[in-house]
Symmetry: C2
Subunit: 450 residues, 2 copies
Amino acid sequence: MEKNQVTVLGAGLIGSLMAIYLKQQGLEVEVYDKRPDKRKSTFEEGKRSINMAVSHRGWKALEEVGLKDKVMPLAIPMYGRKVHDEHGGTTFISYGKENEAIYSLSRGKFNQLLVEEGERLGVHFNFEYKCTDVDFRTQEIDFQTPEGEKKVLAPVLFGSDGAYSSLRLAMQKQIRFNYKQEYITHEYKELTIPATAEGEFAMDPNALHIWPRGKFMLIALPNPDKTFTCTLFLPHSKSKICFDKINDENDLEILFSNYFDDAYQLMPNLKTEFFTNPTSALINVECFPWVQGTSLLMGDASHAMVPFYGQGMNCGFEDCSILNGLIDKFGTNSWDLVFEKFQKTRKIDTDAICQLAMENFEEMRDSVADPKFVLRKKIEAKLYELYPNDWIPLYSMVTFTDMRYSEAYTQGKLQEAIMDRVMADPLITENWNKLDYEDIIYKMETAKAV
Amino acid sequence: MEKNQVTVLGAGLIGSLMAIYLKQQGLEVEVYDKRPDKRKSTFEEGKRSINMAVSHRGWKALEEVGLKDKVMPLAIPMYGRKVHDEHGGTTFISYGKENEAIYSLSRGKFNQLLVEEGERLGVHFNFEYKCTDVDFRTQEIDFQTPEGEKKVLAPVLFGSDGAYSSLRLAMQKQIRFNYKQEYITHEYKELTIPATAEGEFAMDPNALHIWPRGKFMLIALPNPDKTFTCTLFLPHSKSKICFDKINDENDLEILFSNYFDDAYQLMPNLKTEFFTNPTSALINVECFPWVQGTSLLMGDASHAMVPFYGQGMNCGFEDCSILNGLIDKFGTNSWDLVFEKFQKTRKIDTDAICQLAMENFEEMRDSVADPKFVLRKKIEAKLYELYPNDWIPLYSMVTFTDMRYSEAYTQGKLQEAIMDRVMADPLITENWNKLDYEDIIYKMETAKAV
């Protein structure tokens, strides 16, 4: 054991970034991951989705460690949602103001960049170390490795080992631990829209494409190789349309030609991919405490969320940034204090984003197809333009600021109630341009003061 | 593997009773438990409380297997709560009608009786078999035993292995499993009031004694050896009065002499016991599904509740009774069907009793000390007397009937709302005997019809 040594469990996006922050704090950093080193083996992501959407909180953290400029060239900006209707028509809805975008990034390359950057700084990565148990009294981790079982002393442990965290399981078995894991009714499958014969993107690359169909949906995100990764979200079972009922190519063709025909025309490998690629579940995890002694859960390990707000990784990166700020403040000899402050202040924010991610699924798969929803977004955009400090749309607060998630949630609920009243006008479609915007802001400020 | 063989995990109260039911169905029954055979070793209960309170649902199941008459002599009837105030004064509040009681029973002896009864019928008990994993594809259980690791094939598995169930953990790791474990702020410690010098009970044995003190409480249940087992419920920490702040005999003396003085005078061994006996946590567990293939979670393994309604064991016994009814109906060759029907119908009932158990804690530690509460109970008792089919107090529905817990819950909430209105009369203390009871029933029936 070297002095000032810390251990990170998991070399995924959050673990690798945390390791970089810690190394930059002047610590010795050992990272353990159960998977093989991606640079030495074929790429295999298992249950994780291939695309990430980096937004403000993610970029902020990357900037802090000096990596924003290295990552940006790998990313494709998406300025809004392109909503595809059943007849192939599309509507574009901006995410924010002009130039505000979320950025599509491939998990594999991005993760590799972070690992290499960490190694360059002197972080030591250990792959094929599968954590089987953690003893909080002796502060030892048991690992299964290709060379047999190993014990590692980890007096300071960052558990960024994901939604199915081993550290969390050890806490669940050993301490007074409140825990909830909840699967939603929907599952997902990744599919591909390849580049055209001319080697170009088959659709507009600067948008997140959505085919909202009420109870289910398809989305597509661009990749640098001119392909799109599509994700199909369907109920697992017990619905008219669900994964359980797509058992052959005929079932599949009926679904795609009826509901996603424009995408279907761009998916020559659909049938093979559909029956080869795994169907994956979607889980929400909340737990508390995150700290046991000087072991800490962070990222998906402490708050795995459903992907519908595109905040899972951004929130995990923000965890790293907040922890780094606390280390700046309290130093590297007060881990109890750093971890305790972190869990005490951060929990309400991760609860808020978990909840928002759950709620946003309905918006994505259903509301975006509603002309009233488009109008609502327009009115909110106008409010934002006129009163940029008083009315920031919820999506923008979450995606384009680093306002605390819990504050964004509360403010968002308030704005929602006011917009519900605005939209209740039966003639809103005709009258929206004549709205008394000042009065709306006044109402909001009044409600806030109560 | 014999034909018609079933496996039960856990030889606690629920597992042993289930094994007896299954044996009586003509099946070969293997039971595995991680603990040593109690008849061959010193008694050790670990985290479980020593006393049980058997009520109607429990007796009904015992009667079905023909054991009611054997168990009754071990039980001490408690006809109501004896509430102790801070000055040593007591108030008796009946649980139900005359002769309606809940029965104090010692876990150890009762469990032993069930195991012996099972063995007499031909159930095979295997002790010191600690389940480490369950493989749902091969239907094999891994056990750690004093003779090393063993694998056991269990094509039909009843998982009654308690609040910290191994089967549930295996399900949590392997399948799409919704799961919640929640610790309440309070913990408990068991203490003793010994028999008097004359070898008699030191207090009325036919009551459950409560010292309600708002945020905390002490209770005592009688044992056949003329002692009482007391349970002290305090917050774990972060309160003026909590386990964390009782660090020496002086702290302890201040607490007991200030709040429980009449009990304190009867507890010569308090100081030794307090600092020797463990402080145990209280957990609520809810999960779903309960079934994976032909493995089933039941009892505390699927719905561990806090002890404040005295229904944990009664509910688990009712699980056994309902399963037995389904086996009667569908036979012993349709386990899929039996288990599926069970989880489909039973879940809302166990959710209801878990919720009621949580809510009853406040009643026990706080409301029972309120004269208004006593009056409220009196009015409800009167309603019950006058309209025995229309108004059964919630406690009675849960404790003295086998009405579905979910129905009791709904009806209870309705009655609560009506009683809130009745009690809102500022002169209720003076006027309660002149109440228009028929009108109350009429209001309840009307509300129900809505």
